[in-house]
């Protein structure tokens, strides 16, 4: 479980996150939604442990900042694409910590091959990462996160560059991690998609948490509408699934 108490993150004189309190349940998918600049990515980076903060942010009762003993998989929205590296090597980097120095283990190689198949990249392992399309890079990033075999996976807009088919494919694959006890935390601009997969949704705006809790409660809450300036409308399909659409006028 991730326990956040009175968390404040400052960048210079601006407060990106303001005195946040939040509990994130293990083995569930929690989705952070909110407008651009709300502080979603900063919160993800704080949970990753690289973002200095004031207050307390504990992962299984241990403060996360600069804690190098944790194994947290992270899928960034804007990765640095290494020149001259092949897709296979790129994904194998995810095994670096487990394999130690020297040659990667046989187990790692078969896991990487299997994960490349799962993400539809098998056959491209010897291609250069710089030659991949945006969607292929996103899948390579997710493959690299999967082979880390961590208990906590953080995804920053994991589907922003994917077509509909690959969105569902990748999200199903991530969702299946829950059964292995993995905690998933992601940001997602597509709230309909977020509502389809997330167990819990956290609404953030201007560095503050407006609402958090079970997906169907939060999706129908006035706070979600407020976060997007009352410019969204929530429909419920016959199946009970919510669909969130933007609208031109305020409601």
């Amino acid at each position: 479980m991730i326990d956040i108490q009175n968390l404040t993150v400052r960048l210079g004189s601006t407060e990106i996150l303001k005195d946040i309190n939040l509990q994130i349940t293990s083995s569930k998918w929690t989705c952070l939604v909110g407008p651009n600049g709300a502080g979603k990515t900063t919160l993800l980076k704080a949970i990753l442990g690289l973002q200095p903060y004031v207050g307390s942010l504990k992962d299984d009762y241990v403060e996360v900042y600069n804690n190098h003993n944790r194994n947290v998989a992270f899928v960034p929205q804007h990765p640095q694409i290494p020149i001259g590296m092949s897709v296979g090597e790129y994904v194998l980097l995810g095994r670096a910590k487990r394999d130690g120095w020297g040659t990667e283990s046989k187990n790692s190689r078969s896991l990487v091959a299997e994960t490349l198949r799962l993400t539809g990249l098998f056959g491209m392992q010897n291609q250069l990462v710089t030659r991949l399309s945006g969607g292929e890079i996103q899948r390579a990033l997710i493959a690299r996160a999967l082979v880390q075999e961590s208990n906590l996976i953080l995804l920053d807009e994991p589907t922003s560059a994917l077509d509909l088919h690959h969105q569902i494919e990748i999200l199903n694959c991530i969702e299946s991690l829950k059964s292995k006890g993995v905690t998933i935390i992601s940001t997602m601009h597509d709230i309909t998609l977020a509502a389809m997969y997330a167990d819990e949704i956290v609404v953030i705006k201007s560095g503050e948490i407006l609402s958090s809790g079970a997906t169907n409660l939060v999706v129908n809450s006035p706070e979600l509408k407020f976060a997007f300036d009352d410019r969204i409308k929530v429909f419920t399909l016959d199946s009970g699934r919510p669909v969130i659409m933007a609208q031109k006028e305020k409601s």
Binding site: L48, L50, N71, V72, Q80, L93, A96, T103, Q125, N126
Partner: protein, 343 residues
């Protein structure tokens, strides 16, 4: 062994250690050439007999040449070549810049200034302390650059820029000193071109301590260096502490460079050619190539020194001339054939 073959089904290993083994054999072979050829050629079989203490070995005079001249010289060339090639590769990784070179952080100009001070000093003969001055000059220049840049952790490339600025400053002071002491022009110039003539067991002893420690440290963090090709967040999530790795890498690479410069002057081109050569031939960018880069760098410099000693024998060419004269065209050929950076 097939280098660079693209097999689309197999997941290839991050590094093929057979390439390292080949590089080790290459160094052994070139090292043997290095100790046997020169104005006085020594036969392989006699060298082995002498080393193993068997009869029919080298004469007393030949033994002297082997043990007091050739062996320390070849060892020093190997150490310097390994140090420059490894630190070049590491700087390229830390600054994510394929053009980074061991001398880029001001180490070269700092060492040049230190050497010039030792040579031009009017009060007593400091020539014997030249390596100490060059070493301190190199380290000081990089340190000054580091503290001026101030934001190395936020923006590693700031160290590159301040290093270039400190380097220009040191070169200006050096030129001024030379201008004031025109008799020093020739010794300073010949030092700048680089030479291994000063090789002795004493030089080999102290430089091997620093260089071997620095190279071992760099090899031990080579896997983490790969993580520096990604963003800091990505590296951190893969279990790498990016800032710590950067600082270890820069300190160790600077130590190796400063030692190499102090022992042999400014030998150019090794630090940039050899890493790219190894990456081009192996088709891999991983820093797990560091041991191989060190071995190939060592072979390259032993071979260059062999050329420097024998091409115009008994006169000697500055080794920096050979490394650039042979290295540049060879590098261009490989560059054209392999398109190193983006295959």
């Amino acid at each position: 062994m097939v280098f660079g073959k693209r097999d689309n089904q197999e997941l290839r290993s991050i590094w093929d250690w057979r390439i390292t083994a080949a590089a080790a054999l290459l160094l052994l072979f070139i090292g043997l050439l290095g100790i046997s050829f020169g104005p006085l050629s020594l036969r392989f079989d006699q060298i082995f007999r002498t080393i193993l203490g068997l009869p029919n070995g080298l004469t007393e005079q030949e033994r002297g040449v082997l043990l007091d001249l050739r062996l320390p010289r070849v060892l020093l060339a190997a150490l310097v070549g390994g140090a420059l090639a490894t630190s070049g590769a590491v700087y390229q990784a830390v600054f994510r810049n394929p053009l980074a070179d061991p001398y880029l952080l001001g180490a070269a100009s700092g060492a040049g200034l230190g050497a010039t001070i030792a040579i031009t000093n009017a009060h007593g003969n400091l020539y014997g302390l030249l390596p100490v001055f060059a070493f301190c000059g190199a380290i000081l220049a990089v340190l000054v650059g580091f503290f001026i840049s101030g934001k190395f952790f936020a923006e590693p490339n700031s160290l590159l820029l301040s290093g270039i600025a400190v380097g220009s400053f040191a070169t200006a002071v050096q030129t001024y000193l030379q201008q004031r002491h025109s008799a020093s022009l020739r010794p300073v110039y010949s030092w700048i071109l680089g030479q291994l003539t000063a090789a002795s067991w004493q030089v080999v002893a102290w430089s091997s301590i620093y260089i071997l420690i620095a190279i071992s440290i760099l090899i031990s963090i080579s896997k983490q260096l790969d993580g520096l090709m990604l963003t800091d967040e990505e590296a951190y999530s893969l279990g790498i502490n990016p800032n710590r790795i950067r600082i270890i890498a820069v300190v160790a690479a600077t130590l190796a460079t400063a030692t190499a410069v102090a022992a042999s002057g400014l030998i150019g081109f090794v630090g940039i050619v050899v890493p790219h050569l190894v990456r081009g031939i192996s088709h891999r960018v991983t820093n797990r190539a560091l041991p191989t880069i060190a071995l190939v760098g060592a072979s390259f410099l032993v071979l260059a020194d062999l050329g420097a000693r024998t091409l115009l024998s008994p006169a000697e060419l500055p080794i920096g001339v050979i490394t650039a004269f042979v290295g540049a065209p060879f590098f261009l050929v490989v560059l054209r054939r392999k398109r190193l950076v983006n295959q």
